[in-house]
Symmetry: D5
Subunit: 132 residues, 10 copies
């Protein structure tokens, strides 16, 4: 279950200047919410949901008063590991959770998912307006 | 024969926020509509049309009320396999079929076709207006 | 159905000298022999077997008295398009058919198949002995 | 001698929608118009002009009523093979010939020429205005 | 817990000819067996062990009487997902489990693990002798 | 300790023309300010702070009256070597120090840091307005 | 018509030491000897044969008493430009012509031809024995 | 000593149409104007200045009445070979010399210099306004 | 000062089978032992030696009774950070220290150092014999 | 004029162990010994010979009692800058000069020269026997 309570912040060391922080997280994994898709993964009792999904999450934001602490972000992303969640919901959920904690001027989350059924999917969402 | 009836959708999990969904489908194949082009492919009785064409289809859209279901998209793209169709018509046909079902705020389809006669072709079409 | 009868040859223009001919065929496609794998592809009436497979076939040989004619090889590979066949069998079948026609001193066929279920497969088989 | 009379067209299958067609032609070759440049190429009696030039031609356009037929484009580009022509003139000539036949809303031709004398040249010209 | 009982085989379609089957599995993930390494991952109650590890597993073998079935291999590799295991042990365990089921003439397993602490690790083990 | 006093300048050789100077410095290294992070690096008595960090620093600016001297920039960047500093502070500090000395029309500093905990970070800040 | 009479040599500056000279010639072009293949190229009166072929020629040798002069090699390769010749014959012809003039201890010619009909061909031949 | 007198031009073959000419010159070399930098290069009597510098020069322009002749550009760039000159001055000097001769609507010169002291430098300057 | 006392081991989990462990460490840094090389780095009082060097260390071995523990290897490599040492000595020192602790059947250390003075250096040393 | 007297050595820090030192020197430049080749370079009075040549020199050796000092190697390679020399002679000359000073167990020099007349040349020579 996603654990936004794990997210921690630290004061922005340069609050008066708008600047961007970009993080690339190639080790995101969750489960497909459809238990039996692509065969009989449901036979695997230790997986609560369905087949594993893998993605690289790209997170970019312009910090306001606080920045997200890197290790807490890692732990938060780990908390999706055994959760069943659709691609579109995962990306929007991460955007919701992170922006609620960081309250950025602008934030974008892009999930670049591995090939499934011969198709690669990339979902991109943002809050706020990016200003030059 | 293209089968738009195979396309299925699911409700957009985040309908209030404009965001993009991009899908890369490197396994698109259809047939050239000209039966005898580049030799005697017409000799091959099991092919209804002409020589096979291959493309990577890139589909990007901003969802409205619904998103296209990934597996149904795969089956829809398979339905071109033994159909004779020109490059320009294939790309516009996919755009027509998908946008009719998904009713996106904006959608773009780009077909990146393999080299034929020493020339590589890329066709790009869209409906609606992309907004930042 | 694979059509080895389509294969044609021409006399080796330099029969006294051992040399290698390598051909890379990135547009090989066949069908999975298991009708219902990865969902309900069987619903797609126009496909005789199951879901499409895609591969790049690498063929290398030292010609004996004859060389394989390039266009006939293309037509032969097209003849797998709507046939259900396992990876291992496809590669060995192509090796059998080609070596029967060309009677090479040495021939290797390598099938490099697209990702399925998150796994990429490469099958390599040969007949004869490669000599320096 | 460039042969624009070889160019053929077919009706745009989707005339009401502005979309782009891009073609990459990596096998363009012509001759340098300066007979004796870089040595004594002029000794080579079978070449009517000077040393061979090689380029990849990139052609992009928004079709109006017609599209250029791919095979006729190939034959047209072949017709430069034994002609002496400067880089700048070749690119503008192709743009003139193609736009006269296709009457596109917008067309761009980019010639990316191989290194000569340690220098690589790229010439880019267009007609009309690209609209989003 | 690794589940070798999930592995299934099918008869080698070409048993008289020695040939190679190579599989690349970029989605292997397990857990570090040291609960508290690199911080407080142990806080994450849903993870039984420690921090997640990620690897691409490369498996190559010369089949004997049987080949490993691709989907069962996928399920077997999934069974490491929530298990704590060292790199060296994981690679040797996969080699042991697979070779016990497939009884190959030769088999090699290479685990290419993601960077940890600024260091990338690759472990390679084999059974049997590779013959040309 | 960062040593901005090491920075030297030379007169802009072309002060009347706005132009850009970009420098890529792949050998930036500093220390993590948290002494004990990622284990017991604190055991290493010769390191004053915590674990080493590594980054490529990208510096771009439009010079005013002076340009930064390349060797003095190298020495200034070396002065972070044994200093504990957060990513966000390091990038903004370099921007502050350099812009104070060079007084550019526009300057951007981008720090592209190596993977830590499976996450890659890139911080980008600027002063002034870039004009075409 | 190939013109081996254009090939010139110069004395090996280091005849007592076996060493290798490798030349990569990416601008080789000839014509298909089959006049009407892949359509009506025969309509193009200025081409004596059929459709143009393109290749990169890789030539490696251990010189004996002489080395091939680079500019004369370029002119010799140009002499194939308007000649109809099969891939296999072109590679063996170049090997024959060059080795007759240079009399090398060992020489290899590899022709890497552009995609035709979706298939890429590479032909490799040699004379003599390569010694370490 | 830079020799702008070597630059020659030819009439623009398409003066009524604004188009771009881009040239990439990877073989630019000059000397550092500081005689003794990076050691005792000054010991090398045949070098008039200091240590050699290497760069790729990228030149792009929209021609007016004339285009720069390619071979004369090559000779002009060679004339920096044994001259001591700073990066910033070299790029602006080339821009000054070329634009004085070509009188372009717009011209940009970018010098991409090799790593020195672990830092890579790129200098970019232009005259005129680029119009779409 | 290199600290081999930091190196720790754990028992080889598969001691009866010869297999390889490869580690790539891209964050190795030490100091040049010549205090004043490439300018006045000696001015930087906090550096005990001269200018920083950077390398990627590649370590491969066949374990005997023990394997090197990954985190202890990281700390050992950090201990070169503020030490002055020549390339050749660094690589051989690491090989000596590691092989003394691990007592491998075979071990190779390759140091791939960053460009200095326009030259890149790679040093490779090993102990023992690699067996297939 | 090549200046082998500039080469300096230092004692091999690990003389009892055979190991390899590889150096990649991408900034080698000399002049073509044919004064007027490829045009009127001879007009350029400051060049003593003909047109500039550029190469990357790869030097690998197993040191005996001494290693070549890196900075002296750089100065030695600079001494070819304004010298007219053929490719084959340059590579063999460097091998002769270096091996005379270093007296290595084995040494190889490979010169990878830039494209001239559309052809790339690589010359490779060695002295001694490489032992595993």
């Amino acid at each position: 279950m996603p654990r936004p309570d794990l997210l921690e912040t630290f004061p922005n060391p340069c609050p008066g200047r708008p600047y961007e922080i970009a993080m690339e997280c190639p080790e995101f994994t969750s489960l497909c919410p459809l238990g039996g898709i692509e065969g009989d993964a449901g036979d695997l009792k230790q997986l609560e949901g369905g087949a594993p999904d893998f993605a690289t999450m790209h997170i970019v934001y312009v910090p306001g008063d606080v920045c997200v602490e890197l290790k807490s972000l890692k732990l938060y992303l780990w908390s999706f590991r055994n959760d069943g969640i659709f691609y579109e919901r995962a990306v929007n959920r991460i955007l919701d959770d992170l922006s609620a904690v960081v309250k950025p001027a602008w934030m974008e989350v892009k999930g670049d998912f591995n090939i499934r059924g011969g198709i690669k999917s990339v979902i991109t969402a943002h809050v706020g307006a990016r200003t030059g």
